[in-house]
């Protein structure tokens, strides 16, 4: 089964580039996108992804609120946070975040994190 990934990012421009780069570098991963927390949560309810990459500050349910609700779906989804603001970090403590990046995004580091995250998921599956 393909690894599934959900990108939640309200900046359309950034979201598009991340999609392009992910398709290029990780063609084996199934990528979906959502543009705010509410839509991200809806996408998770339809199908629980293995990994969620999310921004924190978004209109219409922020990243923290969304992740809290996704947790309630009783899944072992890994969260990778990419945010412009480091001041909400303490709110993430209870969420067991896989990794945390501050914008501007270093895509190489993001790829490295995704690589090890995917390896871990595949290890638990086999």
């Amino acid at each position: 089964m393909k690894i599934s990934l959900l990108v939640v990012e309200d900046d359309n421009e950034a979201s598009k580039i991340i999609q392009t780069l992910l398709a290029m570098k990780l063609p084996e991963v199934a990528v979906r996108v959502a543009e705010n927390g509410r839509l991200g949560l809806e996408a998770c309810r339809q199908q629980i992804p293995d990994i969620v990459i999310t921004d924190l500050n978004m209109p219409d349910m922020d990243g923290v609120g969304m992740m809290e609700q996704i947790k309630e779906l009783n899944c072992d989804t890994r969260f990778i946070v990419i945010t412009g603001y480091s001041d909400k970090r303490e709110r993430l403590d209870s969420l067991d975040i896989y990794d945390y990046f501050v914008k501007p995004t270093d895509f190489r580091k993001l790829l490295a994190t995704l690589g090890s995250c995917i390896s871990e998921i595949e290890a638990t599956r086999s």
Binding site: D10, I17, T20, P59, G65, Y85, K103, P104, T105, D106
Partner: protein, 402 residues
């Protein structure tokens, strides 16, 4: 008349019968007659008491009148005491000269003519009364002077105190204005940070994209051109943002006519990211032709203050359905602009105070209490309009009429 109020006159004679006859002559003149029977007695009396006049017998044993008078003259305290010599013998002018030399003011021969004695005594008593009165007036003047001096000094101290208080207030004002400037700058920096975060992120991704495509062998002319154009577009946008912020804080030189819709758009463009980040939706509905004559940048500062105030009213957390509504229309030749939020409103008792200087309900360090005070000043004093606030259903409405 009280004994103390009577005018004191010293009569000196070694013979008691002379003293008694002098006393009889002066009896009804309301005098306090003090008798001395020798020069020594007289000297002792004048040392301890004050007299209007001394009637001094010349011929006395031990110390005669001349000697007594000379000693009186030598003492500074009694130097000016008037002395009238009274004598039976020694009618020669030579004696009279001695008398005047010794300091006498007059020289009476016995037998004494009562009317002359009495009128001479009267003159000196009057002089004495006048001198006393003069002293009293002097003392009064002195005490009034003293009072004036102390009042003056008190006034000086009070004035100094007031000046100090005024200076303290001025310094406090300066400090508050300085603080509010720093706070406004902080707010601006915060807004710039919000405005720049996303474009900077896209900028970074666009640049990295070129590298990744190159690695994969897919970096062609179209991708390069596309990304370079996008990067330049973002850079221009960032540059424009800097200009906008700089314009915003530069003071207006003169009144101009400006479009309200344009000012609202410009102001919102500075703060939209910080509003979006909080999940606040902004709805604008303005007549396109709505215009105002006044200070454009100051007007934008007012808008910004009210918008930031509304933003802060929603608190630190995101609020579901948070909304700010900006509406504008013409009304009886004036432009009316309302800015409404749905953040729950202001307690009625605080509504009156909201435009007071230094009034703030925000936590220490978050609000200076200057923003809305300045906003009211700008609209009402500088632009002759009105800025009011009221609670509406679920929130607050600020109303600007210009």
């Amino acid at each position: 008349m009280n004994e103390n109020d009577k005018i004191p006159v010293l009569i000196v004679d070694d013979r008691p019968e002379n003293l008694t006859s002098l006393e009889a002559l002066l009896n009804d003149m309301e005098l306090h007659l003090v008798k001395a029977q020798s020069g020594n007695d007289a000297l002792r009396e004048i040392l301890y008491n004050d007299f209007a006049l001394v009637l001094l017998d010349v011929q006395m044993p031990d110390m005669d009148g001349f000697e007594t008078a000379t000693l009186m003259r030598e003492n500074p305290k009694t130097r000016h005491l008037p002395i009238i010599f009274v004598t039976a013998g020694m009618k020669e002018e030579y004696h009279q000269f001695r008398g005047y030399e010794a300091g006498a003011v007059d020289y009476l021969m016995k037998p004494i003519e009562p009317a002359i004695l009495r009128s001479k005594v009267r003159v000196f008593c009057d002089l004495y009364s006048q001198r006393l009165e003069l002293k009293r007036i002097q003392a009064e003047l002195e005490s009034q002077n003293e009072k004036l001096r102390s009042t003056y000094q008190q006034l000086q101290e009070e004035t100094a105190e007031r000046l100090r208080a005024v200076e303290e207030l001025r310094q406090k004002d300066q400090m508050m204005i300085q603080q509010s400037r720093i706070a406004a700058m902080g707010e601006m920096l915060n807004n710039i940070a919000h405005q720049w975060r996303q474009p900077l992120n896209v900028l970074g991704l666009k640049v990295q994209e070129i590298g990744f495509f190159y690695e994969m062998g897919g970096c062609d002319k179209d991708l390069l051109e596309g990304n370079v154009n996008k990067v330049m577009e973002i850079l221009r946008h960032l540059s424009q943002t800097i200009d906008d912020f700089r314009d915003f804080s530069s003071p207006d030189k003169e009144k101009t006519e400006f479009g309200v819709a344009q000012m609202v758009a410009k102001t919102l463009s500075l703060v939209e990211e910080s509003l979006t980040q909080k999940g606040i939706q902004v709805d604008v509905s303005l007549s396109e032709d709505l215009s105002v004559t006044g200070y454009a940048n100051e007007f934008r500062q007012v808008l910004l203050n009210i918008l930031m105030n509304a933003k802060d009213a929603f608190g630190d957390q995101q609020t579901e359905g948070a909304r700010i509504e900006v509406k504008g229309w013409h009304e009886q030749g004036r432009a009316v602009l309302t800015i409404t939020d749905n953040a729950g409103g202001i307690q009625e008792e605080n509504l009156d105070k909201i435009f007071d200087a230094y009034y703030t309900t925000k936590e220490l360090g978050k609000g200076t209490g200057i923003g809305l005070f300045m906003a009211k000043n700008i609209i009402e004093k500088n632009m002759g309009g009105r800025l009011t606030v009221r609670n509406i259903d679920g929130g607050v409405e600020f109303r600007i009429e210009v």
